[in-house]
């Protein structure tokens, strides 16, 4: 006689299957996260490390209640946070602007060319990120390709400030995040049922009406998904600002890196990281609420 019921056997099998992944995440993700969460409310040690006292002023330094014994509130950190938010949002917008029309183009290609188009989009993953960013340095710097070319043609007299600007960072971010936006957007565009577009035209809707009433709502899941996938790493990114922003433009990612590696103020670095995570979680929460509302009204695509 079998000692286990069918349900028990199933849950045992499930446990074996997802056990290793869960264990891995618990050890290498949840634990460090918990440590960071705890550190973020502890006082920094004088020579690095932490002092085990409750110390809310790590967050205070950013949000406006700095430790009165130690410093006066400096809004620089908060403005770095705002600027990172702004750059991440602009990156999302620009990648979307590039990828959405491109996704339609690729989805209408013949089957053979479609696979090739997707291959081209993912091609940048085959080269090192650092190498690809340094190529932009070569293109943008004072003696770089663009400036030299423009000066040789006599269009400008002195080199333009192209590199080490917000613009350079945004350019670099858009460049590296395009594939991340393209793939989810493409997936939902590819799934779009063109007979619905025809039905819309048949019922008298012009191109603009068809786009806003049919095409956009039906591809929105891909747009939202792509935006989240780009926004999250863009907000915390530190490589692009480090390479293309020089020392001039500081973003959250660099600030956190500095706190951990140079300033050795781990609690403050942790607090900054928690803040990044909080804004991402807030965004995900809004997304889930939006999806739930859509789910009531809209179906899974049949």
């Amino acid at each position: 006689m079998s000692a286990l019921t069918r349900t028990q056997r199933l849950s045992a099998q499930l446990g074996i299957l997802i056990g290793p992944a869960s264990l891995f995440l618990a050890v290498f993700f949840i634990c460090p996260l918990a440590i960071m969460a705890i550190y973020s409310v502890l006082a920094p040690g004088t020579y690095g490390g932490v002092v085990w006292d409750f110390y809310p002023h790590n967050f205070g330094r950013i949000l406006g209640f700095a430790d009165p014994d130690f410093e006066i509130y400096d809004p620089v950190y908060f403005s770095i946070f705002l600027r990172s938010l702004k750059i991440a949002l602009i990156t999302v917008l620009l990648t979307l602007l590039v990828c959405y029309p491109a996704a339609f183009q690729v989805s209408r290609l013949p089957e053979r060319w479609k696979a090739f188009g997707l291959f081209l989009i993912t091609l940048p993953f085959f080269a090192s990120l650092i190498v690809r960013l340094f190529i932009w340095v070569l293109i943008l710097k004072k003696t770089g390709f663009i400036n030299v070319a423009l000066m040789d043609m006599g269009i400008i007299a002195a080199p333009l400030e192209l590199i080490y600007t917000d613009g350079a960072i945004i350019l670099g971010m858009v460049y590296i995040f395009i594939p991340f936006m393209f793939l989810p957007v493409y997936a939902s565009v590819e799934k779009l049922d063109w007979s619905l577009v025809r039905a819309s035209q048949d019922l008298g809707a012009n191109g603009i009406q068809t786009f806003f009433r049919i095409i956009l709502p039906l591809t929105l899941p891909g747009i939202v998904g792509g935006s989240i996938i780009v926004f999250i790493p863009a907000l915390g990114n530190f490589i692009v600002p480090a390479v293309l922003g020089g020392a001039k433009v500081l973003m959250l990612g660099n600030l956190i890196e500095q706190q951990f590696l140079s300033a050795r103020n781990w609690p403050f670095g942790s607090a900054l990281a928690m803040l990044v995570m909080a804004s991402v979680l807030l965004l995900l929460y809004l997304y889930i609420r939006f999806e739930a509302r859509r789910g009531d009204e809209a179906p899974a695509i049949r």
Binding site: L196, R198, G204, R213, E297
Partner: protein
Amino acid sequence: MRESIIRLEGASKTFPLPEGGTVVALDRIDLEVSRNEFLTLLGPSGCGKTTLLHAISGFVQLDGGAIWLDGEDITDVPAHRRPVNTVFQNYALFPHMSVDRNVGYALDVSHVAKAERDRRVGAALAMVGLGGLEKRMPRQLSGGQQQRVALARAIVARPKLLLLDEPLSALDRNLRQAMQIELKNLQAELGITFIFVTHDQEEALTMSDRIAVLHKGVIQQIDTPRNVYDRPGNTFVATFIGASNLFEGTPRRADGKLSLVTAGGEVIHAVESCNKHPPDTGSVTAMLRPEQFSLGGSGDTRSEAFMDIIVEQTVFVGSNFEILGHTAAGRKVSAVVPASQVNRIAEVEDTKRARLNYDPASVHLIARQGPQA
């Protein structure tokens, strides 16, 4: 003839094939449909019927020819500006919109005032028997209900012409038959011209005022269901619609009687007056529907119009028996006789021989190989 609502002249369309070459989907089609008519485009898949429908709705640009709708040349008018609506084969309901918004779509995009819009959406839904389901999403409806929503959505703007692209093909048999009758009633009630595309001949025969049989981009015959069935214009129509026995031969007249002699020596008797243009010379095909035969006894010589066959198989199909066999010359013949002739059928099964009687007046002669391309 009633006033025509749509007229096509020399409509032509050629598509390139992916493997090279081209296929002619429409070959200089002339078609005229009257106001309030129920016309069916019938043909095998690939015959051009869907292309013809798309040419009328505006999704296919013609290579040549012209289309007039209600006296207006619409050949170059884009799809969204044609007062023509379509019920799509897969319904194409907008999955992110409620029934109400689906049905109201045509009115919403043309900015009809709210009160008027709501009244017309309500009326359209009531007409298809879906009142009260306004808030449902398409995925929450059965196939039959989705079909009705698609229908309501297409009629709500009162188009001059309603196109139906195999709308019943996804429904099960009972529902399909119920919908056939409902569609016919709906058409009478609305007073809108319907052009219905199907590959199902039974559907075409049941519902249509006229049937246009398409094959290879050419209208083979356009006529009432009765005439298309009883008097097919060519052998394609004869074999595509219903089962038929075709005998090709040379006409012969003797003692004022018309008959046809095949190469195998079979003689088919016909009646001159029942065939409008009995041909005098050349090859002619005689058509006999299986149900036009009846079983005669072996010694029955009352009529000279009979055919002796060697029986291969008898199949019981409910109310009828189907007898499959061949003539002495080896030509396949099928006959359908009422199951009530049970004694004679037993005899046929015993002897493997049957004498099939027919009425010479029911023999249809197909004069020439009409348009077949």
